[in-house]
């Protein structure tokens, strides 16, 4: 129905919702609540609009090795079948089933890892050179940050950005849709990261093209002003923290 917020789902949410969303929801859509992440489902694109995660050291440090073997991607049955993406949609599409909330962020517990395999948390990503390479490098960087801070929040999502066509000089958005359910293939993906260390907040924003990227490209080269992502994504990030209260944004003192 219309009031499907917050629609509980796999796993308990309890007090986690409060901490994950402490700095505000980026927007109010069809919200899905999991143990360590929340997502807003985008019915037209058949993937998430945004995914918000919280991490701290204890989420990443386990006394067992990280093991996602045998975990299968599964459909989100809370989403109406008109808009639900399926494994079949991705089959032979040429794209990976790319995690938005990264499986490795939830390594402490296999049940938490398994939650990230819900297809609402998945978007079509170029495999070689992107999902398996530069995007994975960005995910690892975020975990590196989380291990060195008291709390970390990361908001991840797809973008559908315009490009100018030389033919007529006009701007067009163009993206492929795959499978029977027309799952959109984003042109780009964003991550906006906020970490808290001894009460101080730092923030960084990244936008990467959904394409093979030279492995030697530094992650810093994908940093963009926060408002660039906000304009394109239709979201406001971590708005409950006034911008002037950040210690740094994109590596520069505020």
């Amino acid at each position: 129905g219309a009031t499907d917020w917050p629609s509980k789902s796999t796993g308990t949410s309890g007090g986690r919702l409060d901490i994950i969303a402490r700095h505000g929801f980026p927007a109010l859509d069809t919200i899905r609540v999991f143990d360590n992440f929340i997502l807003a489902y985008d019915r037209r694109h058949r993937t998430a609009h945004w995914v918000l995660e919280h991490m701290s050291r204890e989420h990443l440090d386990a006394d067992h090795p990280y093991d996602r073997s045998g975990i299968e991607f599964f459909e989100d049955h809370v989403v109406h079948d008109y808009w639900r993406s399926t494994n079949q949609d991705y089959h032979r599409s040429g794209y990976d089933r790319g995690h938005l909330a990264a499986a490795g962020n939830h390594r402490r517990d296999r049940a938490l890892i398994a939650q990230t395999f819900i297809l609402s948390n998945i978007a079509p990503q170029v495999g070689k050179g992107f999902n398996r390479d530069v995007w994975n490098r960005l995910e690892k960087y975020v975990r590196w940050r989380a291990r060195r801070s008291d709390n970390l929040w990361v908001c991840t999502g797809p973008l559908y950005l315009p490009a100018r066509e030389p033919r007529d000089g006009k701007l067009y958005v163009k993206y492929e849709v795959i499978g029977r359910n027309h799952v959109s293939v984003p042109t780009h993906f964003f991550k906006v990261v906020v970490w808290e260390t001894a009460g101080a907040y730092d923030m960084e924003a990244y936008v990467l093209p959904n394409q093979a990227v030279d492995d030697r490209t530094a992650l810093e080269s994908f940093r963009v002003p926060i408002d660039t992502v906000e304009r394109a994504a239709g979201l406001l990030f971590f708005q409950r923290i006034p911008r002037h209260e950040f210690r740094s944004i994109n590596g520069k003192s505020v």
Copy 2:
């Protein structure tokens, strides 16, 4: 903030909200409430996601001629300036500022007509052959229906539909964006109409391409199954009326 529903706006809403939305909100987004229509704003496309209107005879019959002269299009200042469309965006774009809630549906009162000129209710439409022709013809048909029923509801919105490219046989969504604020030019528009006559409900759904259409094309040729629009728009229409309770859908007995 996140809980911007229902964000009251121009005009009083009062009990109108209840009647306009009696059969359910199509979705829960950034909702804007006007006297005779409600809309959900789509921050990424910088136009409405859907607009829901209610009409009855008394809304259409006035003792004065319909006069929209001198009414200007105006920006929606409730929308953050990151996503707000402006008159400048449409200027020299080649597109009309096309009404979603039609001005003529609110002809009883110039103040009600004026509300429809808010740019959140406007989308880029091809002028000649579409906005000024076949789309106008559909709007007039809806009013004709409203005059012959006790109540009429109409949900209108843009669509961004994929097309197959012969080059590679794949499906792509492609649309232009105009102006500094990148207002999306929809590939299609839909209208889903429900009217009530002596307690019986009838429904029709239309999808029209945002392009010049031969004036001799019958409106019936644009009728599509309700679920076709629902899948593409990410919406469920009038879901509080069970489908088997309709007298007719798209002219066929249910």
